[in-house]
Symmetry: D2
């Protein structure tokens, strides 16, 4: 336990505000790279900073709207940030989703803290189940960890997606055993893990990471059945921040060209090289049979978390309406109709996520989990509708979204006045404000935050086919066939089941 | 009050069972016509009977699954059929929707009792509001009416859609004033109304009708602002049952050709010719300003009631799966994928309706109403997805759905054996059972119950454009624009609102 | 040859007009059944007659618009009906498609003669190829047959789809060998074939049938590799006419209820019981390796023939526009927009079919065949767009499409006036005319001609998955990958191919 | 005429090769700006160069595949580059479209030369018509201009889209009259024009520009009814090159990060400040009534030119297939099915464009113009299908498309090996090649060339609503209504038309 106390020694002062959060990120010794260069202080890197800002909103909202973004926990943390609260009622999940939509509206991007929440919610019930069946003490360890995290109010990142290598082979048959994260050795104090996690949201902006297996495992994959928590600055961790569309607009064109200069998402590749995890922070170690349960519960939580995209949808619908107003065409029937269609699609996503929360059910640990079928349905709609909303936003906005001069052109004495003269919209609309709205639409549909609004909506929490497999499993087709046969007058329809 | 007691004299024995219900329909003197002929006893008419059967299921389910299909009411009826229970909590609406889906599964068609439930739920709150503002006594009257109806366990039909004539003119400017139902005279006992209601679900199978205005009214339309309850056999009422696709299969081809021989829907044109309504059964009379509220509340309830179509969807998905199994192709990847797509669309509808129930809110009378935006979104999906589910069902089923010989061909000694020989599917599947499933798919996609599954899904509770108008009203576009402007960096974005 | 001359003896007077055609159908001894009863004179059967009328239009148009519907043939027939002309230029296919669309417009249904044209076009080139490789004389026989048919101007039906039984087994492994049509014995004069053909368009309305195998065959299926021509009244043939949605409206409700009283389609199950085919009318007999070529060529022709559905689309778009006009809402922006969408989808189908004709290529016999990829693409759009066009038509038309009283109600003295009073639309529009248009929309979207417009559009000429398989074969994916690799900068991209 | 000869003096040596073309761009005195800085030699600017490369392919293909990309002209140029050839037969348009698709395949982007071709094709017939009606000599001037252009083999850019300002006002009522390009003064030698053109494809890469009005004009807009040709380096012209998504990847990340390092598109804002046009190069001057004809013909040509996007589609389909192969999942049924769907949509676009070419018709000048309805239908599909193709490509490719490390990370000694280790796909696939393909997919779906593949597909040649208006005009709705009424049995249907 000595070790663990030491690991938490830096977190004795709770992070209460966004400013505390920014301060908490400074001075850490992390191996972070971006575009081939080591980033000594990520919080101050202009490309990374917007993603830190988005995360900081999860602190700001907790104080501004505590009824939405905080919760009382029985685990020991008292009134805690909702991102550290395991849901123990349908209302917890409902409120979580409302908070996620609101943060989507505030930031227009991925605010990155959901994956950690969904990871702790999953670990809560899975460790409980393992303990109940095997007499292990994972759940006690996990609760102790979570209590500390709640009191310190840290950001926990969740890390699940392994590189996978040859998709046709299980972990233990890969040419390179590190293509899935695994235990490479162990000693009396803990385990050492190697491997990597891909596309990890928020990793650089987190304080702790929980790593988990990415798929169903077999007994031969025992060493890959490992869950644990590590500080993001643990020795052996390296972060390679991925390139995003238009990431360098943060530095090359000014705030206007960025579209949304303040907020962005973040994904990175995390490499684990013999990273030590003390046993007190190990929450699964070899119990391979629970990997599939863990993945199913995590994806069930996380697929509904994509309700956040309806917050982004709100922004994009608003931006399209503002663009139409700036052009003086807001009353055209086809414009109004497109805004209605965008809203209809956006609210359809919302309704699926909310239904999945309201119809959540408890598991043995007392945690509530979204309805599995509805959560998959919700996410599956997220893999489709934002693309159509985005197309309609571009339709309303016009071609200038992708042909507009730079803010630097505005600043040039020779051509700045020409740009202002010819980009004038409806009388009374400030030309630069008109440009800002168009850049925001670019940002969300074909720019930096389209990464989160579109591509991540496809693949985050599982690609479309993953949802289809889950829907197939849950569709109760034999029951449906029996209903049909009965109505059709097929004799002995009941017996056939 | 004497009059009113008389009107209820026939209902002194509560209708407890499906058999009671069938009995209650016999011996009434109603003016019912179908295909140009007077129908003396509709319950025994072979074309109408399947619609009576479907309604009877609303009685059967109440005894078989009381936790689902009955409810305790404070209005005085005690434990009553849920179709007579005004929802007073989100859970009431949630359970209502589960009941509707289950009835959809049981019948594979429109079971017709929702419109009455949604009518009483609406009248409950609107009469309350009118009384509160004007000192009228409509709410007391309405509660007294409803208490009697609950105790008697009668079927109440709701009647809203007027013929409308020239859509560009309000009621009082129509060439024929009867094109909207209105008060034509009044005396000391009550009012007399004339006009008609179109597409009325279940009218012939009901015991009472509540009539309501169909749209927003102005002061000049005061005589059209009328709500009341009448017995279905009141003097002056005439019913013309509409033709449905394949309606005569009930008589011309045997049970097999009908596809779903037991259950069907029903719509009729109800003509009112100076129908007397005692004041005790008048729930609005001239308060034109409340017409729009009444219509909005009714459509909000009723649009979510289209969750019933997911029950039909369950049957159709099951039928398609059974057809594939009968053909021996159930493991083909494209077949499985189509079943998943059908399920995904069906559950998306379900999720929207359920979210609209869970997020319902109370109004002054204490009644809970579905969330308006989500209810419109739910119904708008209903105007689209059943058509695609239907197309996919036909895709899986194959062309035989529309080219199959008649059951009468099976019975012919000469060709019956040929039909059996050549319509054989996978070994071990009974050929006639294979045919039954195909006829059921025909029934639901291009036959009698496609009327309810497809066309009624488009127009019931308002055509698609009606939902788009409501979505436009509720989309809070100024708030969304402000969000976008703030993120885009537009100065004074807040002030512009 | 004696036999063959006899077989043609009834056709010495060319069928020049629609009246000639009607006359030619009478007095034949065919085994035709419908709904369990023998039909002695199909042309006079009220349910079958509309399908005969549709076929008759193929004669009428040839005289009214010879530039469109006739062609000069080098085969010996001179100027012949285009339905008997093997296309020998792109323009022949282009004109064929224009004729098909026009006939779709005239009839609003399937006019049934395309399958025979596509059968003779296919036989022309396949027999040529077989002769060239094997020294057989099928092509000579076929030309002789076709010359007679052209001179007599008969209707040739094409019969391809076998019952198939267990889809996982080839013909020779079926429990019942008759589940695919095959040669059961042969003598010095000819062959005897048994089996059946399903969903056969126009069979009862034809004079001759060409039967063909339905899929790729192997050597063990040699006896199933058979093509030949028989008179429709040949001994051993039995026809069971399939039931269609609302087929009995032709008798039970009057012309109005039928929606399109004049025209309809027709499919039947044809049973072959040891039907004799003289060698002179055998065009393939055992050359199993050519079956796949034959099927591919036939489907390539026939998939483009679905351009006819754009003619039906024209009618349905017009009907929807007329319905809107009758309601007085034709200038509403959402109505206009829906008509545009319907037109866009309809013309997209047209464009794919026409491109497939313009880009046709000749084969060895000199016949031109539609571009295979584009023909598959065209048909694949036909499996989707008519469903959406139909949904939009119902949207515009309103719910009355499925709830309207019968024509018999109009004729009733008591209720007829009520129906007229309340179904009044815009002032000046005849109420019965308004009803007629709504019945036509019912007919095409959920009535008798929806069989052809919707379900047949899915399955005719091959179900959707059949087109996807052909598209996959023709997509030249290796070439596309090489293009991508080259642009991506992959070294040796060319070598990888 | 002296002036005009001088203007052509720099073009005495025909541009025969791509190298000639590059040389021809150097040393010109143009006012070109990008990101606030003057660009002295655009051809050597790393961000602009890929767009020059794409244009250069139009020269390369003419020598490599002359049968496709050159044509004989009767105007005087002999065998000329097809981009300078006015189509005088359907085959000219068919071959043009095949060339466009091939160039799309070669470059994976907009090669920019179509707009000039469509401009000259339009001017050919419009000047002919004006001369015929008014006795002007525009056509002679135009032919003389075109002959010189053909001989010199220059790139002609077409410039149409005005800034438009307040969309509710015509040109002469705008607050700033320059918001539409117009004649500001004239002298004995020529006219002087001021204004601007937005989103101009290829302007910086061209030698000459033809400017044209952007919409229907009225008599009061006479000064805005002007067409003429100017050298791109004419005094008074300023070019502000627009920012594109990921444009700076050309400089900041290496060839890999760019995805398609060699080729890109280009749009700029062209400002005209009293630019002189000698009368010999004026092709319309005040004949306002012809503006609408000119716009309609131009858009009819140009909408079909979007067939080029099917070439991009070929590349993207290939890239998705290569990505699947690299992941070892190319045989998964859902992957194959998505590739088929992408191909189906891509070929549907192709078919519409090709049909519009094959069914082109001549106008008075002898030029052939694509079928107007089909061209609008083709472009309307282009506003939809590339978005779905793009979504499916991202689906197949996986999330790495937007989270992948930079090429610079590969080059870093510390993390380069880690990236290689963990981004390994199927055994035997080079990891960097795998990354290249993913970057290409990023480039086309959310990167630089998504500008052309997606947003330009929406708005180029007119936004979606513009096509809907044209489709509405061409849909012959009265004829369709008459067809419907006739089939429905409405009396006097013919008379109503």
């Amino acid at each position: 336990m000595q070790d663990v106390d030491t690991l938490w020694a830096d977190f004795t002062h709770p992070i209460a505000t966004a400013d505390d959060y920014f301060a908490s990120l400074r001075g850490r010794r992390m191996n972070v790279f971006f575009m081939g260069e080591r980033v000594p202080e990520p919080v101050d890197h202009p490309v990374i900073r917007p993603s830190v800002n988005a995360m900081a909103e999860t602190y700001r909202i907790a104080t501004e709207r505590p009824e939405l973004a905080s919760a009382h926990t029985d685990i020991g943390g008292g009134q805690v940030n909702r991102f550290l609260h395991v849901p123990v009622s349908p209302n917890d999940l409902v409120t979580k989703h409302e908070m996620q939509r609101e943060l989507g509206r505030r930031t227009g991007t991925c605010f990155q803290r959901c994956v950690g929440l969904d990871a702790i919610s999953t670990c809560h019930s899975v460790t409980f189940d393992v303990d109940a069946e095997t007499g292990s003490e994972y759940h006690r360890r996990f609760l102790a960890f979570l209590r500390r995290a709640q009191i310190a109010n840290v950001v926990i990142g969740g890390a699940m997606t392994d590189p996978k290598g040859d998709r046709s082979k299980p972990p233990h048959q890969q040419d390179d055993l590190d293509l899935f994260l695994h235990v490479v050795r162990r000693d009396q104090n803990g385990i050492y893990v190697s491997g990597a996690k891909m596309h990890q949201t928020s990793a650089v902006n987190s304080h702790w990471l929980i790593f988990m297996p990415t798929m169903r495992l077999t007994e031969a994959d025992r060493d890959w059945a490992v869950v644990g928590a590590v500080r993001v600055d643990a020795p052996g961790l390296t972060y390679i921040v991925g390139r995003q569309t238009n990431d360098t607009r943060a530095v090359d064109g000014g705030a206007l060209d960025a579209g949304n200069a303040q907020f962005a998402g973040q994904e990175s590749l995390i490499v684990f090289e013999e990273v030590f995890v003390p046993y007190e922070h190990v929450f699964l170690d070899g119990e391979w049979a629970y990997a599939s349960t863990l993945v199913e519960r995590f994806t069930t939580y996380h697929r509904s978390s994509y309700v956040c995209k309806t917050g982004l949808g709100d922004v994009l619908i608003g931006a399209a309406a503002a663009a139409a107003e700036n052009n003086g065409v807001e009353t055209a029937s086809h414009i109004k109709d497109k805004l209605v269609e965008m809203t209809h699609l956006n609210e359809t996503i919302y309704s699926s996520c909310m239904a999945a929360a309201h119809q959540s059910k408890p598991v043995a640990s007392g945690a509530y989990i979204n309805d599995e079928m509805l959560s998959n349905v919700a996410k599956h709609n997220v893999t489709r509708f934002p693309f159509e909303i985005s197309r309609l936003a571009q339709d309303i906005a016009g071609g200038l979204v992708v042909t507009m001069p730079s803010e630097k052109d505005l600043q040039n004495n020779e051509i700045g006045p020409l740009v202002r003269k010819f980009l004038q919209g409806k009388s009374g609309v400030d030309t630069v404000d008109r440009m800002r709205i168009l850049r925001l639409i670019e940002n969300m549909t074909i720019g930096r935050n389209a990464v989160g609004y579109l591509t991540e909506s496809l693949h985050g929490a599982g690609s479309p086919q993953a949802q289809r497999i889950q829907i197939a499993r849950g569709m109760r087709i034999e029951e449906k066939k029996a209903r049909a046969r009965k109505l059709a007058g097929v004799k002995d329809a009941a017996k056939r089941q």
